[in-house]
Amino acid sequence: MAQAMFRIWRGDARGGGFQDFTVQISDGMVVLDVVHQIQAEQANDLAVRWNCKAGKCGSCSAEINGHPKLMCMTRLSSLPLDRPVTVEPMRTFPLVRDLVTDVSWNYEVKKRIKPFQPRTPDAADGTWRMDQRDVDRVQEFRKCIECFLCQDVCHVLREHQLHREYIGPRFYVHTAALEMHPLDVANRLADLRGPGGLGYCNITKCCTKVCPEGIKITDNAIIPLKERVVDEFYDPVRRLFRIFRPKPQPPPAKGAPEAEPEPTRTAASSSAPR
């Protein structure tokens, strides 16, 4: 069996440092396997968060050789093992201990985003009709597993710590899923431009590169949202036209169900954003 050296960050908010571990490795192992092995054999108190070991729960986010990745989806065969492999907690969030960070800021941000607000139901029984073509686009955003790797890599949060003025790529994806949803009638553009801090994003695409779900965050969520914000606030001709345009449709009638629309033959089932 081959050996490899792992350099794992140990410590808490007060401080810490890297600790080296030599481990036996075998074919098919992922970084999370190594961390578990170290936890079982060499450092029983090593803190690590994980759940599914299948790249679907978004718990095991960390920085491997400086790249934000899911530990459970990073095969050792994809890493150079002639040098120590570093494993660190996500840098953007407060450290709890070892590899575990406190990502609760994200949940607070999510609460501030206007929730799904469907238009008045299309049918008398309180259901809606959607065209598959209209939900196709938001389907991509719904693949998000909330691993927050994109938040971790985004330099606006990571480097400039603008957590108070900026919601980050994960929540641009979330907002895009709502804004582009065929049934949703709420307008979140002023929020995006103001407290959402969309203008801070300088489209450097680091978020897209790290997303384990392959969501094209920058091209399909952020830039389209930036363009919508331009429509609303920065395009002088548009603004002029808006003066003469009829007012947008009113919000849904009172009593309209808030829940996810019932699937119908033309409706795609899981398309209301979570």
Binding site: H67, H155, E159, P182, G199, E227, D231, D235
Partner: protein, 250 residues
Amino acid sequence: MRRDAWWLQPTLVFLGLGAFIVYATWAAFQGVNYAWGPYLSPLYSPLLFGPHSWFGPEPGWWPRWLVFSPALLILWAPGGFRVTCYYYRGAYYKGFWADPPNCTVREPRKTYWGERRFPLIWQNIHRYFMYLALLFLVDLFVDFVRSLRWADAAHPGRVVWGLGVGSIVLFVNWFLLSGYTLGCHSIRHLIGGGRDLLSAIPKRAQAYNCVSCLNRKHMQWAWMSLFWVAFTDFYVRMCAMGMIRDWRIF
């Protein structure tokens, strides 16, 4: 901390864009050798002033201290289009401004404004440059068609159709610029991306899909077209200076 060659990509962007800027600036200030036979360099098109131009010879108001070059009158438009392009923005913020130098690499400055206020809030003007860029595509296609019309050596004053390598170079230039321009994020938005109900606008939805298809490779189109614009100018310039002979296919 990253241990891979993270500096490589921003360095390549810096060198690539830097080389283009240096060449294009040099070529724009030449004011000569931008046309040969029926060929016109894309850096000088549309030719507003000068021989065979839209508005006649050098205008009287041109400042004396500045070398006369018709390129200086038009290059701001395609230049502005590229500078405000979403792809280039992300690339030069890294390559020229280290903001960030690359993903997860520490930055040299503490302050950060992003595109939220002056000056970078002006990047939002991109769609207006895009409208101009569409006009340039028409203009460059006209240039290509004109490049097929040669003065007839046997009958002075008459023109004949013909094809030289230069026309192919001009056509490739137009083609690559079309791929780049038509994949623009602003077009993608305006053609349909800005609407939630694409099914209600089926024609535009189709166009949206085409633009999205080009958009997926926007970076590649951006670099290929950038290189080819410079190369096209170089080709025409070399012909005009007599350094190479254009090969006339028929």
